[in-house]
Amino acid sequence: MMIELCDSSAIGEGEILRVDVDDFPAIAVARHEGALYVFPDRCPHADESLAEGWLEDGRVVCGVHFAEFELGTGAVHNPPVGCPNLSFFKCEDRDGKVFATLAGGPVNV
């Protein structure tokens, strides 16, 4: 079941926004070349916030140790030792609202 996260207008091009949803760990929503991406606001490396990082060349960059994750595939680049890939939640823009399937955890889209 998809649940509503936020207004899609709240996320500008090239931005990452942290969204708090009841019963789930913090979520991050990003927009790149118009498309929306939803993923846990927790870096797979050491749990720091990805919403405090930034987008660069189609990747989410963690601001703490600079792991880079490809938007879409989640493949990690420049990984600190032992850093796995990032996973994403299925999401869509319904009438100006961002919806995502959070239950069951993230899957690669």
């Binding site: 050491a46 749990d47 720091e48 916030s49 601001g63």
Partner: protein, 468 residues
């Protein structure tokens, strides 16, 4: 760490605010400079206790040169340098301002930046436990798996220690660790009128070209600083053979020496110049450069006035107290970083006008390398002298012996309407006496009111217009 018992819930949380050390007063060290008899006690070149006092009184308070704006043009560009013995990172911010921090992690103190310079840094990650700092110095994160679970951890108040004040003057960035220090403009005072000879002779301003050349010299930092503040005397002996080799003739102060040459000093900063137009530039060995400077000084008359236009390439030298020096005409800019009483790390750069043609910039760069790099003709001449001037004082008896700083005691020029304490002739110890007087003021005074109103403060006289 366990005051009030270790069992209670509310333990003392660490106070991670920056600490800027306080100055003290060391009249016993100030007394090592005998102003009445124009003598300097050799203890100032060898004593460890004096050296530690210098770090506290001078290097933790004075405005110190960090970098030229042109070295870090874009956000994230950085260089590593030192202020005294303190390792410092200088970084361009996203809003184009510049910040500088101690290069030491607040966790266990490890150095967070290992390289000398870089571009577009995303931040600085400490090698030890991975604490990560933004280019603004703030702690961005640590290891969330550990620290996020620790309720008492207060990330927000942790960061790299920023310098207390940072500012720039016509492209040159300076900083101080003293929150109470006066503004950079006040610290430099009217000495900027002389600095403009190099920094403002062209409307487009200046830049550093080439890299930084580093070397070590086993000398006390004050020997090179006093040499550049006003010792052209040594050139006639030390540099005579080097000058012969490059110029085919000796050092020459120009035919109008008696009329033109002078020394000027403001708060211990000093310039000696002979106003001979191109004497320093000639030693770089490129006739085209000499033509360029002749041309430049003709054009610069509007901006700088006749007198300063003659100084652009002249036989001359400057020190900005305490340890930043440059040579007009030869365009070498340098910092003598102290590394103990008997050692310095020397970093040198070449300054050019942005508007200069490429091949002129290239000739300055090469010319400086031939003369004032570790393998340069003149640098080698100087270094050896400073090393022996320092080292001989290891001799217990030797270091009791007086030194003579008394050339030109009667040479004060009260007529010439120039900023600062002006003395006739460049062959003079006047600026060096005032340099050590300034040194003594820093040793003696624990506050800036006294520091800015002592003997070295510029005498009150008619203000000199920037463009006469």
């Amino acid at each position: 760490m366990c005051e009030g018992g270790c069992k209670g819930a509310a333990k003392g949380r660490p106070d991670m605010k920056p600490v800027y050390p306080r100055a003290a007063s060391y009249p016993q060290y100030a007394g090592l400079v005998d102003r009445k008899n124009a003598q300097v006690d050799r203890q100032v070149f060898v004593s460890d206790a004096v050296y530690q006092a210098e770090l506290q009184q001078i290097f933790a308070r004075a405005w110190l040169f960090l970098a030229h704006e042109s070295q870090i043009p874009n956000p994230g560009d950085f260089i590593r340098t030192s202020m005294g013995e303190d390792d410092v990172i200088v970084v361009r911010q996203r809003d184009k301002s510049v910040k500088a921090f101690l290069n030491s992690c607040p966790h266990r103190g490890n150095r967070v930046c290992m390289v000398d310079a870089g571009t577009k840094a995303r931040g600085f990650i400490c090698n030890y436990h991975g604490w990560s700092f933004g280019i603004d110095g703030a702690l961005r994160g640590t290891d969330g798996k550990v620290y996020e679970k620790d309720q008492s951890f207060e990330k927000a108040q942790i960061g790299l220690t920023p310098v207390a004040q940072i500012d720039s003057y016509k492209g040159l960035i300076f900083a101080t660790f003293d929150p109470d220090a006066p503004s950079l403009a006040e610290y430099l005072g009217p000495f900027t009128w002389y600095m403009d000879i190099m920094l403002d002779n062209d409307p487009e301003g200046t830049e550093f070209v080439g890299g930084a050349i580093k070397s070590e010299i086993d000398c006390n930092w004050k020997f090179p600083a006093e040499n550049f503040v006003g010792d052209i005397l040594h050139a006639f002996w030390t540099h005579q053979s080097g000058a012969q080799a490059i110029l085919g003739g000796g050092v020459d102060l120009g035919s109008r020496y008696d009329e033109l040459a002078f020394q000027a000093s403001v708060y211990g900063h000093g310039i000696e110049t002979n106003l001979d137009k191109v004497g320093n530039t000639r030693t770089l060995g490129y006739p085209e450069l000499v033509d360029y400077v002749f041309d430049l000084s003709e054009k610069a008359k509007d901006r700088l006035g006749e007198l300063r236009a003659r100084a652009i390439g002249a036989v001359s030298s400057c020190t900005v107290f305490p340890n930043f020096s440059f040579l007009p005409g030869q365009n070498t800019f340098r910092v003598w970083h102290p590394r103990g009483p008997g050692k310095i790390e020397l970093v040198v750069w070449t300054l050019v006008n942005k508007s200069a043609p490429e091949h002129i910039k290239e000739q300055y760069r090469k010319g400086v390398m031939m003369t004032f790099s570790p393998g340069g003709v003149f640098e080698m001449d100087d270094g050896e002298n400073w090393e022996y001037s320092t080292r001989v004082n290891q001799g217990f008896v030797t270091r009791q012996q007086p030194l003579h700083y008394a050339l030109g005691l009667e040479s004060a020029d009260l007529e010439r309407d120039l900023p600062g304490h002006v003395h006739k002739g460049s062959l003079n110890d006047a600026n060096q006496r005032l340099f050590y007087t300034r040194w003594a003021e820093f040793m003696e005074y624990d506050n800036w009111t006294d520091l800015q109103s002592g003997e070295t403060a510029p005498p009150q006289k008619k203000a000199v217009e920037a463009a006469e």
